[in-house]
């Protein structure tokens, strides 16, 4: 996946923050992960892709950041279910943008929300995942792209 294609996912993520909270998220320099499943925080929204590209893309954020997001959105309920819904919504935004940009040949799974460690998600072999740090307020979250051309 080239830089322009990855930019689609970065834009979707930052757009979500701007739309939901009116506050912009800052994107730091992307780097390559040296572990199989890099930088996992408390809540992770995952989409898998097949077709022209294969692999997964996920957004992972710490609990504090997710709660702060809920506060900004005026939501009082901070239960796990709500937090998982919200991380799922971010994954859904990634999925929607990908569909619009890549078209029907980019087959995208239903977004999945996970709490804690990712056990089943593995990037394709021979590939270092791209980690794109996304800072919102003082919190650090990551957008991880582990996709290879199919």
């Amino acid at each position: 996946m080239n830089a322009a294609e990855m930019q689609v996912f970065v834009d979707a993520t930052t757009h979500y923050f701007t739309q939901s909270t009116g506050l912009e998220a800052e994107v730091h320099a992307p780097y390559l992960s040296d572990t199989e499943v890099p930088d996992i925080f408390d809540y992770t929204g995952v989409i898998s892709v097949v077709g022209e590209f294969r692999g997964c893309i996920y957004f992972s954020a710490p609990r504090a950041m997710m709660r702060h997001l809920l506060i900004e959105m005026g939501e009082q309920n901070h239960s796990d279910d709500y937090l998982l819904d919200m991380i799922g919504e971010i994954a859904n935004t990634l999925s929607g943008n990908a569909r619009r940009y890549f078209g029907p040949e980019f087959i995208i799974s239903v977004p999945v929300s996970l709490k804690g460690e990712l056990t089943d998600i593995r990037p394709p072999s021979d590939l270092r995942p791209y980690v794109i740090p996304v800072r919102w307020k003082s919190y650090r979250s990551v957008l991880v792209i582990c996709v290879e051309r199919g």
Partner: protein, 702 residues
């Protein structure tokens, strides 16, 4: 050609024949019945007429006797005479009709026809009766005239009285005989009817028995066939099914069909619909179009086979964890013709995932092999050792670039990151072109091009580094490939039996050249002394790691240990620094690698200052650490005492790499130093029995 059996209804010919026979028997009995009924009716008329003859003979006697006793010309006489004439005529006509056949009037006054009586006994009675009757008829005729001759009446009466009883007896006998004949015919008819009905019943029983048995056999055969079909359909690994023109699946299909597409089937389902949630829209469109072609008579079947776009269909089954399981399916179709017209299409579906996986592996292996061969040729043409060194250095540089990216936290940091990355990439580019590895030179150039617009720019966004990161990934992947090849080159060299001394000589030459280049780059003067007598019988991967470690140690000694000539002279040392690299095998079997330089040594104070500057530790934290503990910090990733990174130092990766390599070889790291005098790194390894990836024990000594 039509056979009798075909004409009679093919396999149902015998049942048609049996039913026809049944009808023939029934019709035969019916016709005989009709005929015999008619006969019995005629016999009844004859019996009645024969009975009437008895009565007529008595009446004629009565009339003659009345005429004898009555006065001629009187009423009684005339009445008796008229009756006698009529009775005589009736008796005579009837008798003649019995004898010769002819028309008569029956007892009800209706005309009837009697056939000539053929029965010998009856005939004998008739002939006897005629013998009596004919003279009597003449006498009666004479007596019944208007003016009969005298005595005619008495003659007739006398004759009649004389023969009356006999005639009565004969007519009675005729009646009895005719009745007996009628009885015989009735009995015969009953026998024929009974026979016919028995035959019809036998035929019916045959039909029942034969056809029920045949039906049962057919049912059993059909059941066996159905069971066998079901067994086949349940056993085969392919999904077999029939499609009609509406693309619907028939009621019979193999179990594998449902298993392959992972959903239950009830038959009569739209075939394309089954794939809607697992295949992409384009595949579905192509499939529908192609299935339509299969039902078009004008297109030859062979052409449809050649056109089949569904021989390899990629499908994706969604998993519960949100990921996909990709499988490859193959669909093949054959037309089914009935009476020359396409009635259905027989489809077969199979899962070819394993086959596709193998094909892809082979394809990938071929591609890699081709790429590797090209690289290999390049490596063999050039200096493999030099290439290995370049790869090692480049990987280290790229990893340091990645570390810079990872640490780039804000806009100001981004600007500094660009400035830090640029020289590293530029050095890689220069090195690559210098030793003729143009592919890496070009890739490094691409990174430079991506960085150029960012140099000196304000407000650099993190995502502007994306092209750099992508290129970084590609270069690292390339290095992995080349390093793998280098290992193989070492293997090949070993397999062709290059003696250890040759390896040692080659290493010595390469390391000496390398030390000279680093020294040149950094403005130092170095004499490298290499003693590697223990390189024999080491496995190729270990040799590679050992070599990388030697390069790192030499680089570290020259870049960090040996001081610039003026500094050395000022401290009373020769301008040329001395580095000694040694590999020995101890009597215990252990390998000892050591690299000693007579440079500035490792200064705990300098490390403390560097750690403090880096912000990793506070002054308080550092105060709590002993000098030994401080010295051990040089093995931490990212640590460097060089504030101005250059191509050979300052990335904070060298010591970490040595530690990683020692770990990979299952070795123990040792370090000895005296500030201002020397530094010596030691690695102890048990290569033949070394377990992989054991955390090395790090020991510091002064």
């Amino acid at each position: 050609m039509f056979s009798v059996k075909r004409v009679l209804g093919g396999k149902y010919a015998d049942i048609v024949l049996a039913i026809a026979l049944f009808l023939v028997f029934d019709l035969g009995v019916l016709m005989i019945n009709f005929y015999t009924s008619y006969q019995i009716s005629s016999e009844a008329v004859a019996i009645n007429l024969a009975g009437r003859q008895r009565m007529l003979s008595q009446r004629m006697t009565k009339d003659l006797l009345e005429m004898q006793t009555a006065a001629p010309g009187g009423t009684i006489y005339d009445k008796a005479r008229r009756e006698l004439v009529a009775t005589t005529a009736m008796f005579d006509t009837t008798l003649e009709a019995f004898y010769r056949g002819g028309a008569v009037t029956d007892t009800n006054g209706r005309p009837a026809v009697l056939t000539r009586e053929a029965d010998p006994e009856a005939r004998h009675l008739l002939e006897t009766a005629r013998g009596i009757w004919l003279p009597l008829k003449r006498a009666i005729g004479d007596a019944s005239r208007d003016n009969p001759a005298a005595g005619a009446l008495n003659t007739a009466a006398g004759l009649l009285i004389a023969h009356n009883l006999e005639l009565l007896k004969l007519m009675n006998g005729l009646t009895t005989r005719l009745a007996a004949l009628a009885q015989d015919k009735a009995s015969h008819l009953r026998a024929i009817q009974t026979g016919g009905i028995v035959l019809a019943l036998l035929n019916f029983a045959f039909i029942l028995f034969h056809f029920i048995r045949k039906l049962r056999r057919s049912d059993a055969e059909a059941e066996t066939a159905r069971r066998e079909t079901t067994e086949i359909l349940d056993t085969v690994n392919e999904g077999f099914f029939l499609l009609d023109r509406d693309m619907r699946i028939g009621s019979q299909y193999s179990r594998a069909l449902s298993e392959i597409i992972r959903k239950p089937l009830s038959g009569e389902e739209d075939f394309i619909h089954l794939f809607e949630d697992i295949a992409d829209a384009e595949t579905l469109g192509v499939a529908r179009e192609y299935l339509g072609l299969l039902f078009e008579d004008r297109i030859r079947e062979r052409l449809t086979t050649d056109l089949n776009p569904l021989e390899r269909v990629e499908v994706h089954f969604p998993r519960e964890d949100g990921a996909f399981e990709t499988r490859y399916l193959s669909l093949a179709f054959t037309r089914v013709y009935v009476d020359g017209a396409i009635s259905h299409v027989l489809g077969s579906l199979s899962d070819i995932t394993e086959q596709v996986r193998l094909e892809k592996e082979v394809e990938l292996a071929n591609k890699r092999s081709q790429e590797e061969v090209e690289l290999l040729v390049g490596l063999l043409k050039g200096d493999a050792a030099q290439t290995a060194e370049f790869m090692q250095k480049t990987e280290q540089g790229l990893l340091s670039v990645n570390a810079l990216l990872k640490g780039s936290q804000d806009t100001a940091g981004h600007a500094q990151t660009v400035e830090n990355i640029f020289p590293v990439i530029h050095a890689i580019k220069g090195d690559a072109f210098a030793i003729g590895i143009d592919a890496f030179g070009n890739m490094a150039h691409e990174v430079e091009k991506a960085l150029m617009p960012l140099r000196g720019a304000r407000n650099i966004a993190g995502t502007q580094f994306l092209p750099v990161t992508v290129l970084l990934n590609e270069m690292l992947a390339r290095i992995r490939l080349v390093r793998g090849l280098l290992d193989r080159v070492t293997d090949i060299q070993r397999s062709i039996g290059q003696p250890a001394t040759a390896t040692a000589e080659r290493w010595t030459r390469e390391l000496t050249g390398f030390a000279a280049r680093v020294a040149d780059d950094l403005g130092r003067q170095v004499a490298l002394e290499v003693a590697l007598p223990a390189l024999d019988d080491l496995p190729a991967p270990a040799l590679q790691k050992l070599r990388d470690m030697c390069i790192q140690l030499v680089r570290n000694a020259v870049a960090h240990g040996i001081e610039p000539p003026e500094e050395r002279i000022a401290s009373g040392k020769p301008a040329t620094g001395k580095v000694r690299l040694k590999l020995d095998r101890y009597p215990t079997g252990e390998l000892h690698l050591s690299c000693r330089d007579d440079g500035r040594g490792i200064s705990p104070a300098r490390i403390r200052a560097s750690l403090l500057r880096s912000g990793r530790y506070s002054a308080e934290q550092l105060d709590e650490l002993s000098d030994k503990q401080i010295v051990m910090k040089i093995f931490e990733s990212g640590f460097s005492t060089n504030d101005a990174p250059d191509a050979h130092s300052g990335h904070g990766a060298g010591m970490d790499v040595i530690k990683q390599l020692a770990m990979a070889l299952g070795g123990r790291l040792g370090l000895g130093t005296r500030p201002g005098r020397f530094a010596e790194f030691r690695v102890q390894m048990e290569l033949e029995t070394a377990p992989a990836a054991v955390e090395p024990a790090v020991r510091a000594a002064s």
